[in-house]
Amino acid sequence: MMEAHTDLQADDAGAMLRETADRLLADRLTPQARARSAAGEWPDELWAALDEVGLPAAILPEEAGGFGVPVADALSLLTVAGSHALQLPLADTMLAGLVLARAGIEVPAGPLAVAQGCEARLDPAGRATGHAWGVPWGRHARAVVVLADGPGGPVLVALPQAALTVEPGADIAGDPSDTVRFEAVAAPSAPAPPSAACLRAAGAATRALMIAGALGAVSTMTAGYARERRQFGRAIGQFQAVQQNLAVLAGQAASAAAAAGLAAEAVAAWGPGLLPAVAAAKVRTGEAAGQAAAIAHQVHGAIGFTQEHRLHHYTRRLWAWRDAFGREAEWAQVLGRHLIAAGPDGLWPAITAA
C-alpha cells in the first residue's frame, strides 16, 4: 500500500523539495536551536540554510526568482515545516512572496510577513500610514505586506522593515506576533488581490498545511510512545481504550491532511472556489488540531506536559496556527453563509464545487 502511495505522489519537484526540507530540518532544528529561538534570538544560520536550498523562494515564479515549482507543490513544503513544528516564518515568507509576485511587486530578499489585520491608507503620493497587528515574526521581517485603502480602492503594500515601528507581541505558542506602525512610508504597492478575504484565505491555507503536517508527526509520535511506555506489565498501546483514541487521532490527522491538500490546490488555482475550499480546510484542520492535541496529551501523560518533552513544540503551535488567519468560528461562518445562500437546490453543487 505504501508503494502505491509513493508512486502516486512521486509527482515531482514537490516530493524532492519536501525531502530536502525534511532532511535539513531534522539535522538543524536541534533542541538548542529551538531554545535560542524561544529566547528571542533570530536563528540566522538556520534561516540561511533554508534560504540556501531555496525553500522560501520555491513558490515564486521563475521571473520573480523562483524555480517554477507548481504552487500547490511548493505549498506542500509547509506540511514538512509543520511536521517539525518549525518556529521560523517560512510560511509567511512564502505567502508574502506569492501575493507580491502575483501583484507584480518585486519580492524582497529575506524573511517576510503578511499582516493578519491592518488599518492603513495610501495617499495619492503612494505613502502608507497606519498600523497592522498579528504580524507573524514581524520584528524580523524585511518587509510586511498589508492591504491599504488607496485612492482608487484597496492596494497591496510591501512596507520595508526600516520604516516600521514594532511593538512586540506573541501568539499562544510564544512565537512573535507583532504590531507594526508606519507613518507616510513610501512603499511599493499594486492593486490588491481579488479581495482582502482572498489574502486572509491564503494565510489561512498556510496554517491549515502546517497543522496537517504537525498532526501527522503528533500521530506518529503518540503511537510510538504508546508502543513503548509500559504500565500494568504491558505497553499502554495494548489497551483497547488507548488504541481507540489513537485511531481517532490518526483519523483526525488524515482528515486534516486531506483538507490541507484542498486548501493548497485552491490557493494554486486562485479562482472563485478559493474561499469555500480554504474555509473548509481551516475549519477542519482547526477542529482536528483540537481533538488530536487533546488525545496526544492524554496518551503522553504527565511527561508530555513538561517543557523538556518535545510534544509541546507541536501542540502549542497547533493551537497558535488554529487561531492564525481566522479560527474555526470565522471560517465556518464564511462557509456556512455560502452554503445557506446556495439554498436547498444549490447545496450539493456548492459542496462539489469546493
Binding site: 500500500m1 505504501m2 502505491a4 502511495h5 508512486d7 502516486l8 505522489q9 501527522g216 500521530s219 506518529t220 503511537a223 510510538g224 504508546a226 508502543r227 498501546g237 495494548q238 483497547q240 488507548v242 488504541q243 481507540q244 485511531a247 481517532v248 490518526a250 483519523g251 490527522a253 488524515a254 482528515s255 491532511a257 486531506a258 483538507a259 491538500g261 484542498l262 490546490e265 469555500p276 475550499a277 474555509a279 473548509a280 480546510a281 475549519v283 477542519r284 477542529e287 474555526e328 468560528a329 471560517w331 465556518a332 461562518q333 464564511v334 462557509l335 456556512g336 453563509r337 455560502h338 452554503l339 445557506i340 439554498g343 436547498p344 447545496l347 450539493w348 459542496i351 462539489t352 469546493a354
Partner: protein, 383 residues
C-alpha cells in the same frame, strides 16, 4: 506505519462531464420524489429505477465491456454514486450487487460465473445480498458456524445468516461460511465463499423488522441446501482473504458520509432566507466535514483505480463519515426550533425524525465503529 496518506485525487474531466449527464437524468427521474423518500438514501429500493440506471450503462461502470461494463474509471463511478446519493435516488435494490458482489465476482469468479451473472447486474436485473453475519457472529466474523460440507459434486450447507439486508428482493447471496472445522490457532483458515442462488430448496427467508417497524433485515436459514460445485467463489479455504478484499469497496464510498444528506438539504430549506451567525457557523462546520470526506473518498477511488488496496484508508473514511452522518440530526434539531405546523416545517420534522431513527445503524453496518478503530490501530502497529 503510523500515518495514513490520502493522495490528492487525480483530476478527471470525464467524471465532470458524467456529473452533468447524471444531474440532468436525475432531475427528470426524481422530480416527483418526496423528501421523506429521498431521506431514505441507499435504503430506498426501486428495482425499476435500478433497471433504468442499467439502461443508461451506469451500473458496473468500471467493469470490462465483455461483462456489461463500460470500462470507465473508479473516479467516474465515484461521481455517479455521490450524485445518486445526494439526490436521494432509490439505489438500494442494486447497491450491494454493484458495489461489492460484482467486484468480488470479477476478482475471484470463474469465467462461467462472470459471464452468467455480471451482465445481469449491469443491466439492473440481478440483485445480491451479503451473507456474513450470524446470530452468534457479528463483529467476530471468523466465528461463523454456517458450514458447507463437500457432498458428491457439490456442497451441503446448513446454518443461519442474520441481518441480511433486502434478502427477499435478491437473487443471490455471497455466502461466507466454514468449509473446514475451526482451528483455534488459525481462526481465519477454513472459510470459503459461495455464490448462492436464493431460490434453491432448503433456504427460508424470514423478515426482521427494525426499530421503526420497517422490513430491510432478514434471517436466512439454510437447511440441507445443496449447492452445485460451481457455486464456490474463488478458492476453498480463502474466504477470509477474499472477504477482507471487499472491504475497501464496502467502506470507502460516498454512502459512508451521505446517509443523512437529505436532512441537510431540508435544514438549509428551513433556514431560508437568512440565518444568524450561530446557524451559519454550525452549517459551515458540517460543510467542512463533508467537503473533506469527499476528498478522502475520492482519494480512495484514485487508489483503487491505481490498483492499491486501501482497506485502512477505507476504514478511516467510514469511521469519520458515520460521525458526521450522526451529527447532522443533532445539529439540525439544535438549529431549528419547533415552528408552527406549516407544510414546510412538517416535511422538515418528518425527515429529521426519519434520520434520527436510522442514525444508530450508521456506525453499526459494514463494520462497527469499534471494529474500524481496531483496524486503524492495527495499522498503527498497536496490535
Amino acid at each position: 506505519m503510523s500515518q495514513f496518506t490520502f493522495p490528492s485525487p487525480p483530476p478527471s474531466p470525464e467524471a465532470e462531464v458524467l456529473r452533468t449527464e447524471i444531474r440532468a437524468f436525475l432531475a427528470t427521474e426524481l422530480k416527483d420524489r418526496a423528501p421523506i423518500d429521498r431521506a431514505q438514501s441507499w435504503n430506498g429500493l426501486d428495482p425499476a429505477f435500478s433497471r433504468r440506471l442499467g439502461e443508461q450503462g451506469w451500473l458496473g461502470l468500471t467493469w470490462p465491456k465483455a461483462y456489461g461494463g463500460q470500462e470507465r474509471s473508479a473516479l467516474e463511478r465515484y461521481v455517479l454514486l455521490e450524485e445518486l446519493l445526494a439526490a436521494g435516488a432509490p439505489v438500494g435494490a442494486h447497491w450491494i450487487a454493484e458495489r461489492q458482489s460484482g467486484p468480488s465476482l470479477l476478482r475471484f469468479g470463474t469465467e462461467a460465473q462472470k459471464a452468467a451473472i455480471l451482465p445481469r447486474i449491469a443491466a439492473g436485473e440481478c440483485f445480491f445480498c451479503i451473507g456474513m453475519s450470524e446470530p452468534d457472529s457479528g463483529s467476530d466474523l471468523a466465528s461463523v458456524r454456517t458450514k458447507a460440507v463437500r457432498e458428491g459434486d457439490g456442497w451441503r450447507v446448513n446454518g443461519t445468516k442474520l441481518w441480511t439486508t433486502n434478502a427477499t428482493h435478491c437473487h443471490y447471496m455471497i455466502l461466507f461460511c466454514r468449509t473446514a472445522p475451526l482451528d483455534r490457532e488459525h481462526r481465519h483458515a477454513g472459510t470459503s465463499q459461495f455464490v448462492v442462488d436464493l431460490s434453491l430448496p432448503g433456504i427460508t427467508i424470514r423478515p426482521i423488522r427494525n426499530l421503526v417497524g420497517e422490513h430491510h433485515f432478514n434471517e436466512v436459514v439454510f437447511e440441507d441446501v445443496l449447492l452445485p460445485e460451481d457455486a464456490l467463489l474463488g478458492r476453498e479455504g480463502e474466504g477470509w482473504a477474499q472477504v477482507t478484499g471487499e472491504l475497501a469497496y464496502e467502506r470507502s464510498g460516498p454512502e459512508r458520509f451521505l446517509s443523512s444528506f437529505w436532512l441537510l438539504v431540508e435544514l438549509v430549506r428551513a433556514l431560508q432566507p437568512v440565518a444568524d451567525a450561530r446557524t451559519e457557523i454550525a452549517l459551515g462546520r458540517l460543510g467542512a466535514q463533508l467537503i473533506t470526506l469527499r476528498r478522502m473518498s475520492r482519494s480512495v477511488a484514485g487508489l483503487l483505480q491505481a490498483g492499491a488496496d486501501p482497506a485502512l484508508e477505507a476504514a478511516m473514511v467510514k469511521d469519520l463519515g458515520a460521525l458526521v452522518e450522526q451529527e447532522i440530526p443533532e445539529i439540525a434539531r439544535d438549529l431549528v426550533a419547533e415552528g408552527p405546523p406549516t407544510p414546510q416545517s412538517r416535511t422538515f420534522a418528518e425527515v429529521l425524525a426519519y434520520t434520527t431513527l436510522h442514525a444508530p445503524s450508521f456506525s453499526l453496518r459494514g463494520g462497527t465503529r469499534e471494529i474500524l478503530r481496531g483496524i486503524i490501530a492495527r495499522g498503527l502497529g498497536l496490535r
